[in-house]
Every structure is written in C-alpha cells, then in structure tokens.
C-alpha cells in the first residue's frame, strides 16, 4: 500500500487515524480502555470512534487492569483483535500476570496452536507533577519477556504506521507512547500503511558519534544533532530506535562501525534500562569498533519527585546529549562555539510542560 495524501497532523491525531483505519479494515478490531469513549478520549486519540463504530466495538472499562487484560487475551484467542489502552504505563503493572504469564507465553506453551493478537497502548507520563506513580517508563520490564513485542514510536508517521502493524501482528505488542509526543506534528499519509516493527530509523546522518535514542529522547537527540551541525559543523548520527523488542541492534552496529562512538539515550531509569542492554549487545558484537566506552543517557535511579523545584534537572535533554558528545569528541566546553551551542538549547517556558501552551493539570 503506497503512502499518499501527506499532511501535517499530530502524533495523537495519527494514532486516532490509525485506530480508525484499522477498525475500518477489520471488523474484529475492538478498542477498550478507561476513558476511551469519554469526552477527553485518551488525549483525543480515540475521539469519535464510538460514534463511528458503535458501543459494540468501542468500550470503556471497569478499573480492572489485570482482569480486562485477561478478557482481551481471551477475546484475542477467539478471533478478535483487541486494542487495550492505559492512560499511564504504571497501571499496566497491575496486569503483569496476564501480560507475562499468559499473553507472552500462550503461543509458545501451546505449540503455536493459538496466538494472541493484542495491542496494549500505554502512555509514559511526564511533567506537571506526575510524581512517583505516574511517570515511570517501564519498557525494560516488558522487553525482558520473550513473546512480547515492545515498541516506542517517536513520530506521528511512525505512530500510525506502527500501530497498524501492531494491530495486524499476531503477537501481543506493548505500544508505548510518551505523553510529550502527543502534540508534535509530522507529515503523515492519509492512506492505510504499515511501518515494520523492529527496525530503527536514521533521523540524522553523521560520522562522529552514534546516538541511539528511544521515544522522546529521539526528539531531543535530533535537536542536539541539528544544533551541533549548525553551530559546530559536527555530524552525529541519530537513530530513532522505534522498537525495544525486537531491538534493531544490527543498525546500531552498522552505525557504530562507522563512528566508533556510541551514546544511548533512554527515557527510563538508568539501571536496568534498555540502553544498558543495547550497549551490552554492541559490546558483545563490535567491541573492537569502539574507540571509547559507550555512554548512557537516562533518568537517575529514583522516582520522579512531584515538586517542580525538585524535578528540575530530572529529565535529560538535548544539552545532556550535546555534553556527552562533547566529552567523547574532546570538545572544549569553555569554547565560544560550545557556549553558543548550549545557549541555543535553552528551553523556553517551564521545564515541566511539553510546550508553553500547556496549562495543566494532566
């Protein structure tokens, strides 16, 4: 299916469109989640689906995360293709049993006789005092479970295309959205198209340092790359990893063999992060290609504190990436160019909202 009818829409709109078109394509696709048909429509990603497809395909749900996950697995085993949604990935912790013990293993333990085509959309919270229980980025927890696929599309284009691929996939797929991506616009085809799962994408070419970034960190990495290029003429290679499991290690290896330097930028706590896993795999396979030890950019190993004063430097940004690049390339951080560069990266508006127009409280 060709991609055509390009226009600019937001990530949230792209997801809505992907859901809409997937439901149009296949009558077995159903959508369920707390708030799906409500006026806020999961940050407008499910708006008007009930009006269009009816109350027998678009559901709100009881606050029963584990149970309803099991219900969706049972429905998936019986011919449906459910898309389940949690407004925060933290709520998926209540459903670990069904996701890990059943969804991930059903196909294997029953010798391939049945499969679980289930998509679980989960949103990573950030900012405006989300606090310890509403800001976790748990991709690593799911990525270590064989049988689950775990993806984190970054752009609106990929969000739509990967959502469609995930819905068509016969395996359970954790579709992880970062809350700060929802409002970002991108060129998105009007058509029904797929973006394959498990493949990274080069966002910015370069030969000095490879920056493999996940989800919102890919946005930050691209900002860093453009600034480095425009101010200092330094070309870093930014890979938007897009998938966590399968992890596209091959592309990272290809890039690292060119640059000899690797930075991995993740949205999660540092220890136990997928960033660490990626570094290990690169080291296992391309040790001699590395000129320097790889670096990891991630959150500190503590929960997000609610207070904006305390949370101020919690999230790494383009400046963190630039600093890591500078360290690797031996750039003088007191040089005029570097000072100019970091000046360019100062974010407008408060640190705890995705854009200056945001007024809380979500």
């Amino acid at each position: 299916m060709p991609e055509s009818g390009m226009r600019e829409i937001t990530y949230a709109q792209a997801i809505r469109e992907g859901l809409d078109q997937a439901m149009e394509q296949d009558a077995n696709v159903i959508v369920i989640g707390e708030g799906v048909p409500d006026p806020k429509a999961i940050f407008n990603t499910t708006a008007e689906l009930r009006e269009k497809y009816g109350a027998r395909r678009v559901f709100d749900m009881p606050l029963s995360e584990n149970g309803v996950t099991g219900v969706c697995i049972g429905a998936a085993l019986s011919g449906m293709r459910p898309v389940m949604i949690h407004q925060r990935i933290d709520f998926a912790l209540l459903a670990m049993d069904q996701l890990v013990n059943n969804a991930a293993k059903w196909h294997y333990m029953f010798d391939g006789k049945a499969s679980v085509p289930l998509v679980v959309r989960v949103i990573v919270g950030r900012g405006w005092g989300q606090g310890p229980q509403h800001s976790q980025s748990l991709q690593a927890m799911f990525s270590l479970v064989p049988g689950l696929k775990v993806i984190m599309p970054t752009t609106a284009h990929d969000a739509k295309g990967m959502l469609i691929s995930a819905i068509e996939d016969n395996n359970p797929v954790m579709f992880i959205e970062h809350r700060w991506l929802h409002q970002i616009k991108d060129t998105v085809p009007e058509t029904y198209y797929r973006v394959p799962l498990g493949q990274s994408k080069v966002l910015h070419e370069g030969d000095t340092v490879t920056v493999a970034a996940f989800s919102h960190m890919a946005v930050e990495a691209l900002i860093a790359a453009k600034a480095l290029m425009s101010v200092m003429g330094i070309a870093i290679e930014v890979l938007d990893m897009r998938s966590v499991s399968p992890l596209d290690v091959a592309s990272v290896l290809r890039s690292v063999r060119k640059t000899g330097r690797l930075i991995v930028a993740d949205t999660a706590f540092r220890t136990g992060s997928v960033a660490g896993e990626l570094i290990t795999q690169v080291v296992e396979q391309a040790f001699s290609a590395l000129k320097l030890p790889p670096a990891r950019i991630a959150l500190p190993d503590h929960p997000m504190p609610t207070s904006p004063f305390m949370a101020e430097h919690y999230y790494p940004g383009p400046e963190t990436i630039v600093a890591a690049v500078a360290d690797m390339l031996g750039i003088d951080k007191n040089s005029d160019a570097y000072i100019k560069l970091t000046g360019l990266l100062v974010r407008e508006g408060p640190h705890d909202t995705p854009n200056p127009g945001f007024t809380g409280p979500f």
Partner: protein, 329 residues
C-alpha cells in the same frame, strides 16, 4: 455395546454414559498415577481422582462448540470435553505428538478441535480468558457458551472478582464452575476464607449462582443444565459452586494421608462419597448397570489406555533444537 443391545431407554443410556465417562477419567488417571513412579512423565501432575463428577456432569450439557478453559487440575475437564487421550498421555511424556508438542506437560492442555481452549497452572489465569471468549462470542453473535473450571483457592484471586464484574456487566454467556474441594494445596478453607458461601459472592455480583453436591453427577448435571439453558438464552453469566473432595496429594500421583493434614475420619468420609461408586450403585438399583457392562467398560478402557501409553511411548521425542521455536506467531 449399544443402547439396544442393553435394552436401555435413551434416558437410561445417557445415565450410563455419565458413569462410563467418570470411570474412564478415573482409569486414565490411575494409570498415570501408576506409571508416574517410572519417572518418565517428568512434569508436575495434579490428579482429579475423586472429583470426576464435576467434569463429567458439566461437560454432559456442553456442545462441541461450547468452549472450556481450565487450570492445573485439567485432565478430567479435557477428557470429558472430548480431548484426545493419546495426545494427553503423549504430552505427559513430553513427546512431539503431545497436545502441546511437549512444550506444556500436564498443566498445559489444549484441544481446539473439541473446544478445549487451554489449561494453565497460574491460578486464576484462565478465568478472565474464558470471559473474553464469551465476550467474543457475544460480539460476534456466535451462540457458544464459555465454561471455566477453577477451585476454591482460585476464588481468592482478585482477577476472579474482576472477571465476575465484567461478565455481569456485559451479560456474557459464561458458566463459572467453582470446584470446592476445601483445599488449596494443603491449606484448608478456614485459613483462607471466612465462613460464608462462595457462590453468594457471585450472586451479589448480579448473576445467577447455585451450590450443589459435586460428587453427585446427576445433581451436577441438572444444575449445569439449567445454568447452560439460561446462559444460552440471554440469561447472562452463571456461577455454580460444587462441593467435592480431592483423594490424593495436591501434586503428584500418591495418597498423602500420612502427612496428617486431614483427619482419618475426614478422609474416610471423603472416600466414601465416591462419585463413581455411589452412582454405580444407583444405576445398579435402577437395573441400568450390570457387572457385565462394567466389565466391558473396564476392558474397553484398559485397551484404550494401553493404546494411548503405547502411542505416547513410541512417539518421537522432540529435539532441544526445536525449543527456541514458536516464541512468536
């Protein structure tokens, strides 16, 4: 042996079939128990000896299209629903011809041809799946009913509450069958639940709920029949709690009465309440069952069992090279 040979009415024949089905499960499981000591069935195994009336009484009112989900103690449910016995035994022996190709063992059974959707050992795990299957049937306007077997211990899991609520909310065609054998492993009800009936909680969730003697196959059948009738005709979810008794150890082939977790008198009365012996006497009194019928059943089963074990033991052993396959569909 046919109905006419035995000069039985349709109804008498059906009653005899219940006995036959219970006895068949018992003999198959006894054979498993006997040969387990050879250490060639290398997987945890939970026998339902003593509890056969529930699997049989419920399954008697199911059609092939109705689907069943089960738990760790699944042999009886699987056999009663028409599951392939050769594939069961082969699965216990870890062979390629097993119903899971060896990947699952005793605690993971499946036979989609007869609507046996799957049994797994994480307690509570399949309860919401059965609800989901009923949900799919309802969304697709398919007429099948979903059935899930689980124990009194399982009822303590939060997911059961969530499943009852979802099923009642959407008025789904599902039958919840709670086999109350008073034990979760070695732990009796009194250490796990307050003194109140389980089925009343299901009732409070807004569904029809009944309790019955799970060792009386005809009582099970009649409760299940009425429940399935309601479920098939838009009556929404149905819950039945059936009292029964586990004869042998929780996991494994043996009796474990020497462990003293239940009193001699309790065990004695448990064994006395044998669903098969009691029903057999009833059928004898009604002149439906004779020794020669019994003999022919026994002969038939010992042949079937011998065949199944032979099939299993002569089946190919899967290779460790296949172990990494089928992680993803």
């Amino acid at each position: 042996m046919s109905k006419d040979e035995l000069k039985l009415t349709e109804q008498q024949w059906d009653r005899l079939a219940l006995l036959r089905s219970m006895l068949r499960i018992r003999r198959i499981e006894e054979a498993i128990a006997e040969r387990y000591a050879e250490q060639e069935m290398r997987c945890p195994t939970h026998l339902c000896i003593g509890q056969e009336a529930i699997a049989v009484g419920v399954s008697a009112v199911l059609s092939r299209d109705d689907v069943v989900f089960s738990n760790h103690r699944a042999h009886g449910h699987y056999i009663a629903k028409g599951g392939n016995v050769r594939a069961l035994i082969a699965e216990l022996y870890g062979r390629s011809t097993g119903c899971c190709g060896g990947r699952g063992g005793s605690m993971h059974l499946i036979d989609l041809d007869v609507g046996f959707m799957g049994a797994t050992p994480i307690v509570g795990g399949t309860v919401p799946l059965a609800v989901g299957s009923a949900w799919a049937a309802s969304l697709k306007d398919e007429k099948r009913v979903s059935v899930v077997f689980f124990g009194d211990g399982c009822f303590e899991e939060g997911v059961v509450h969530e499943s009852l609520n979802f099923a009642a909310l959407h008025k789904l065609p599902i039958l919840f069958v709670c086999e109350n054998n008073e034990f979760s492993v070695y732990t009796r009800m009194s250490e796990r639940q307050p003194d109140r009936p389980i089925y009343r909680i299901a009732e409070a969730h807004g569904m029809a709920a009944y309790h019955g003697d799970g060792n009386d196959v005809e009582e099970v059948l009649s409760i299940a029949e009425a429940a399935m009738d309601r479920a098939r005709n838009g009556g929404g979810p149905q819950f039945i709690e059936l009292s029964t008794y586990r004869w042998r150890e929780h996991c494994g082939p043996n009796f474990d009465d020497h462990l003293n977790y239940r009193s001699e008198s309790e065990i004695e009365s448990g064994l006395k309440d044998c669903p098969i012996a009691n029903f057999a006497s009833r059928l004898e009194l009604s002149n439906i069952l004779t020794q020669s019928v019994m003999d022919s059943f026994e002969a038939e089963f010992s042949e079937e069992i011998a065949d199944a074990f032979e099939f299993a033991l002569s089946s190919a052993k899967p290779s460790s090279k296949e172990a990494g396959e089928r992680v993803y569909a």
